[in-house]
Symmetry: C2
């Protein structure tokens, strides 16, 4: 991954044939209808950090099932509460249609796995409203500015990390082309800035273009902002809400995450995702717990 970027400047990773519908991400988020509203899935071990299945990946799997179950396809606003730790392996997603309107549909989804005795254990619960991004008006009055960050060849990715981070095992890092602004990574070398911000270029490593489902992944893939505050423990997500505001154009995304309110052992983490046409395509906020 580190080799590909300099040759392509801001063009993202060297394409490896990943296209929407036929890529690592599409295969690993596939869901199979079993009965009305119920889907089977196989959670992949490809999207894990230190053995923990990534929350954005889980959200994308459940969101894909819910998008199939509802009359509208695109998640406009989707909330997940994380209940128990998921593991690679079989899962079932049960959806409920709450309301089907003309422009928006609302539904819920539960993603469940099985304990040793075969009993169902719920992993995440979703509540979401879906619509049709292609039906939105052309008005764009965005007041925010895209994050400023150096070109990818002057940013750093998983392969550029110091030796001591080699133990930070992440299969997800191999699925992503991620290049973070070194100014936001002081904590990696023991000098957290206290600003609780990270900015990075982001794409799927096989060159698959972004779409609304992959945006659900993108908001939850950077290292926790808590690390930039000197926090050293895990930061599990309690709840994550994503607004998908436009269908991203092909090309690398820019993701900026930020925290303003670490307090009482919890923090919020906000993400903005910008596409290569300078469009703010997704906004997210999560509540996470700072574990010691």
């Amino acid at each position: 991954m580190a080799d590909a970027a300099p040759q392509r400047a801001a063009g993202g990773p060297e394409p490896r044939g990943g296209t929407i519908g036929d890529s690592e991400f599409d295969r690993d988020t596939a869901v199979t209808p079993r009965s009305p509203g119920e889907y089977g899935a196989e959670l992949s071990g490809n999207w894990s950090v230190l053995g923990a299945v990534n929350g954005g990946y889980l959200l994308a799997v459940a969101a894909r099932a819910l998008g199939d179950a509802l009359p509208h396809r695109d998640p406009f606003t989707i909330t997940a509460h994380y209940l128990t730790a998921s593991r690679p392996g079989p899962a079932v997603i049960r959806t409920e249609r709450v309301r089907a309107g003309r422009t928006l549909s609302t539904g819920t989804a539960s993603l469940l796995q099985y304990d040793e005795g075969g009993a169902e254990v719920e992993r995440i619960r979703l509540l979401a409203s879906y619509g049709d991004l292609d039906a939105l008006g052309p008005d764009v009055g965005t007041l925010a500015k895209p994050p400023t960050l150096p070109p990818p060849e002057r940013c750093v990715g998983p392969d550029d990390m110091p030796e001591e981070w080699a133990a930070f095992e992440s299969t997800m890092a191999q699925r992503l082309w991620a290049k973070a602004d070194p100014a936001t990574l002081g904590w990696v070398r023991g000098a957290p800035s206290g600003r609780a911000e990270t900015r990075a270029w982001m794409a799927l490593a096989d060159g698959r273009a972004p779409d609304p489902l992959s945006l659900l992944l993108a908001v939850d893939t950077l290292p926790p902002t808590a690390f930039d505050l000197g926090h050293q423990g895990w930061v599990p997500t309690v709840e994550l809400t994503v607004h998908v505001r436009a269908r991203p154009v092909p090309g690398p995304l820019r993701v900026a995450i930020r925290t303003l309110n670490p307090a009482g052992g919890y923090l919020e983490e906000d993400a903005e995702v910008w596409d290569s046409a300078d469009r703010l395509v997704a906004q997210s906020r999560q509540l996470a717990r700072m574990e010691r």
Copy 2:
């Protein structure tokens, strides 16, 4: 209300005997257990704007039922999807316990009313995790700064609005002591600033102190930021998520709302709520639709 403020400076409204548990807000959000997990309520006409029942008030009613149904009392993160327009009158709230953990419990709630034929119509659906705010650690590392706004006697409330706004009928305005920074209200006199920000002092008009439930109201009571962008239509909420981060101390709140991404006929509206001890006690984000 306008008379009360100058005498009390930043001290909030003249107390009229409202206390937590015995106030307009408490009476109007009361829920009555009917069967396990099911509650009856009477939606009040006291919290409406142009006949529409306020979304924050509705959220507080449903959240109160869910807090009774779950083993934890305080909403930590609560999401509501607004399905159909509520009307003053009887309602039923059905709750489901999704998971009861040691520090957090997760549940759902549906608030329903009845159509002319007596059939149930769902108004809002909730997904939330509750905890115990008093059990949180003492660490406060908030990076945000409280909103700067003039003292209440130099701010403007509903009674200070120009004649032409008298038609903007709001029973809720009488329940709130709200004093907005005039610098954020240019749109009232036909000169929207384009900044999509409003800052205001906020309290319940009867002097009842804020608590986690009234914070759910506070995030959704200011005029829509879209008005500061020159938008003139209604701005119905699709989804609202509130993080309650600390139990507020008595005294007036400061509420700041802001929008960064009006596009495609939708916008996000973020709110910060600060208590009189300069603590960021709630953060919220909603997705709303800009109707023409």
